[in-house]
Symmetry: C2
Amino acid sequence: MAPGLFIDGRAAASLPLPDRGLAYGDGLFETLLVRGRQPAWPALHGERLSAGLARLGIPEPPWRDHLASSLAAVDAPAERWLTLRLTVTRGDGPRGYAPPATAVPRTVIEIAEAPLDPLAAPAPLRTALARLRWARQPALAGLKHLNRLEQVLAARECRERGLDELLVCDTAGRLVAATRGNLFLLRGDTLVTPDLAACGIAGTRRRLLLDTLAPALGLAAEVTALEPAALASADALFCCNSLRGIVAIGRHEEQQWRAHPVIERLQAAYREALCASVG
Amino acid sequence: MAPGLFIDGRAAASLPLPDRGLAYGDGLFETLLVRGRQPAWPALHGERLSAGLARLGIPEPPWRDHLASSLAAVDAPAERWLTLRLTVTRGDGPRGYAPPATAVPRTVIEIAEAPLDPLAAPAPLRTALARLRWARQPALAGLKHLNRLEQVLAARECRERGLDELLVCDTAGRLVAATRGNLFLLRGDTLVTPDLAACGIAGTRRRLLLDTLAPALGLAAEVTALEPAALASADALFCCNSLRGIVAIGRHEEQQWRAHPVIERLQAAYREALCASVG
C-alpha cells in the first residue's frame, strides 16, 4: 500500500505555505488506528480534538468529512491495520505570533501501514527514568498539540540509552507519562495514573481505561500526583497508546515485574473492545 | 514586491510532507531584517542558529547558500527594508517522535516587506503583566525553536487586553521577556535583563546590547533573575527585537515613564549600527 497524504480532504504531496502549524506549532493532532476504513474510537479522538481546538481558539474544520474522504481514497484491504495521523493547523495568517481574528484552519491527513499488529501480545518493556524532565504548563496540559520537542528529546535519550521506553517526570519531580504514551500503576484492585493538570497528553486509551475498561473489570481508577518512588511498590506497571494498546513494563531501572493476571485481563478486554470499535 | 518563498534555496509554494517541522515543531527559526539583499547582523543570527541545531542534534544545512540564492531571486529595491524568516526543520523521517539517525534538514525562507521602518522613532509601548506564565524548560531555554504556542497564547491575550505588549513571567514568577522580544531595565548606569537559563529566547538584539551597545555607551550590563517588583524601581524599561529594534515602555500597568536620555542614546547607537550592518 502506498502511503496516503491529504490536505483538506484532497490528495496532496505538500503543505501550502505560510502555515502557522509549521511556523509556531500552532495546531493539534490525533493518531488513529484504523482497520480497513474504520477508525478505532473516533468519538474519543474527536472529543479531545474539539476540546483542544476550543482551548486554542482554532475554528473546527470539517475534519470528519476530510477523514472520510481520505479513507475512501486509500487503497487498503479491509483487514489491514493502518495508522492515520490527523493534524489540524490554524492555517495561514499574517506574520507574527498573534493569531488571525478569523483563521481558516487546514487539515493534514497522513495514512500508512500500522507499525505493529495491535492484536498481537506485546513484549514487556524495559524502562528507566528519563534524565530529561518536562516543563509544567497548565495552559497547554492535556492537549495533543504540535509543540512536541520535549517528546523528541526524550525519544532521543531513550534510543541513546538502548531502552524500550522512558518514564518522564516534570520539573517538579512528578511522574507524567512514558515518552510515547500514558503510564498506569496497578495497586491491588486500583489502577492509578498521573494527573495531567500541569503537563502531559491526555491519551484516548488512558480515558478508555479510566472510563470503561477499569469499571468493566471491577477495578477502581485513581488520577493523582505520583512521584517515582511510587513505582517500586506497584503490583504492575503498564503504558498505553493508540497504536500499541496496553503494554506491560517488565523491568524499570533495576526492578522486575512478572506478567500480572490483571494486566492480561485488561489487554484481552482492550483487544475485544478494539475489534468491536472497528466493526 | 511579491513575497518570496524558497525551500532549500529554490522558489517553492509549499512544503513537502511529511516534515518533522510540522509534525513536532522539530526545528528552529531566525527572523532577519534585510535591506536590499543584505541581512543585518548575519553572524549573530548564524551563531544562534548553529548553536541551536547542535543542541537539537540537527545537522547544519547549507542555509547560508540558501539565504544568498533566495535574496538574489527577490525583486526588491536596494533601499527597501525586508523581513526574512529562515526556518530549519529536521526534514522527513520515520513516524514517531524519535529523530532519524541521519536527518536531511530542510530550509524554508519567507521574504516579505518589513512591517515598519526600523529607522523611524518608535512610539513608547503600553504594557501589563501577562496572566499567562511560561513553562520552565532548561533543555530548550534560549533557543528560537518552532514550539511557540506559548507566544501565540500570550499574543492572543495581549490583543484581547488591547495593549501593545505584555511582560511575561515563568511559572516560578520570574520575569522572562515581552511576548515579541527581550526585556531590559535601566538602573542608573546599568542595563539589566532577565537570565534565560530556564525559559525564553536569547534574542540577537539582546546579545548586541549586552556585548556591544552597552559597553560602547559606558553602561554596565547585568543578566540576572528578576521579579515583577523590580520593574517599579527601574529608571526606564524597554523591549528589543530584530524588526522593531529598541522600543521604550511608556506605561506598565499603572506606572508611567517619561522618555529617558539613555534609551534615546541606545536607540541612536542601534540605528547607526544597523545602517553599518546592512552596508
